[in-house]
């Protein structure tokens, strides 16, 4: 299946609030260790890196390995301290890349 993602990004928050990002990306995460029904090795195809930038700063980074199941789900929380763009980026070992963006508006309490 072509690379595509479901993301749930916070859109509004008050300064200092803890907000959550949830993401689910379609990817086979083929380990490279399996063989097909003819005994031929299925080439490795995995996502190797997931990174999140918030208002220009890198706030989360994750290396993915062949042991991670297909269609990785990643969620985490962070403190909303300023308005800015959220950018989620997945990179695959064959050069494929998927980027999802959203805007987070932070207001004073």
């Amino acid at each position: 299946m072509a690379l595509s993602a479901r993301v749930r990004l916070p859109e509004r928050a008050t300064r200092g609030e803890v907000v959550e990002i949830r993401s689910l990306v379609s990817h086979p995460m083929e380990t490279g260790f399996r063989v097909d029904s003819f005994g031929r090795r299925v080439p490795r195809r995995i996502l190797v890196r997931f990174s999140v930038r918030y208002a220009g700063r890198l706030i989360a980074e994750m290396d993915l390995r062949p042991g991670i199941a297909a269609n990785p789900y990643v969620a985490f929380r962070f403190v909303a301290d300023r308005s800015g763009e959220l950018e989620l980026r997945w990179q695959g070992d064959d050069g494929e890349e998927l980027i999802e963006r959203g805007q987070l508006e932070v207001s004073d309490p």
């Binding site: 299946m1 595509s4 479901r6 689910l24 379609s26 297909a70 969620a75």
Partner: protein
């Protein structure tokens, strides 16, 4: 003493016969999942099957084929097909054969869009099938097995009881007689097909009812049915009837 044992014997025998789960005990495979997997299925964001629903929705809107028509142009919103998946497979009088969800989608694509229909078990077909089945979530399975579908239904019922493969097992051997018992690390399911198309962790992807039937046949080392054949559809019809009344769950999560 002897007399009481003799008196107990018929009761014991009745107890053993009664302990065999009958096919009337219809329990969704959902209840065989642990708490975490049930939570995953119930979470419409994190449920990986929803990736196919998303993709199905994109395909729904996209014009295709010689007619340049999208699904929406004829059917409107996907919600208009609520209930359809719960009634499949069904008898197609014109083609004089059964059709299931995948077959129906393929003929709709080739006849109304005049486009090349996606292959069985391709992500493109699974996406549309999951989108359509998802519209019927919560509705009870209710296939029509009377009238012209009756012969196929009886063939499916017989197929369910027929021993096959190198392991010489019938579907009923496991899914009727030993449903709920343990087979090494796994609990044997009751073989209810109300969750399809579903996301199976063993496959790390989504699959159709027919893929599951094929997987089962291979597990008992039997020759799988030809795809979209009368044998395959007859068994699917019987299985859908067997799960009648259970709420459709697509996209369900199963191990």
């Amino acid at each position: 003493m002897i007399r009481s044992v003799v008196m107990l014997l018929p009761l014991l025998l009745a107890g053993i016969a009664h302990a065999e789960p009958s096919s009337d005990a219809r329990v969704s495979g959902y209840h065989g999942l642990g708490d975490e997997l049930r939570a995953l299925q119930d979470d419409d964001f994190a449920n990986p099957g929803m990736l196919w629903v998303d993709r199905g929705l994109r395909a729904w809107e996209t014009p295709a084929g010689a007619e340049g028509r999208s699904c929406r142009d004829c059917h409107g919103n996907p919600e208009s097909l609520r209930g359809l998946a719960a009634r499949l497979p069904r008898w197609n009088a014109e083609m004089e054969r059964l059709e299931d969800l995948d077959g129906l989608l393929r003929s709709c694509i080739s006849e109304r869009q005049r486009a090349a229909p996606p292959e069985f078990e391709s992500d493109a077909l699974l996406a549309l099938a999951t989108l359509v089945a998802h519209q019927s979530r919560g509705l009870p399975l209710a296939v029509d097995v009377d009238g012209p579908a009756r012969a196929a239904f009886e063939a499916g019922r017989a197929s369910f009881q027929r021993r096959r493969g190198q392991l010489d097992l019938s579907c009923a051997d496991c899914h009727d007689r030993y449903a709920g018992a343990r087979l090494r690390g796994e609990t044997i399911s009751a073989g209810m097909i109300n969750g399809f198309p579903l996301y199976r962790l063993t496959w790390e992807t989504l699959g159709s009812r027919q893929r599951m039937i094929r997987w089962c046949n291979q597990a008992v080392r039997a020759e799988p049915f030809e795809p979209d054949s009368a044998d395959a559809l007859a068994l699917e019809l019987y299985l859908a009837w067997r799960a009648r009344g259970l709420a459709l769950e697509s996209p369900a999560i199963r191990r």
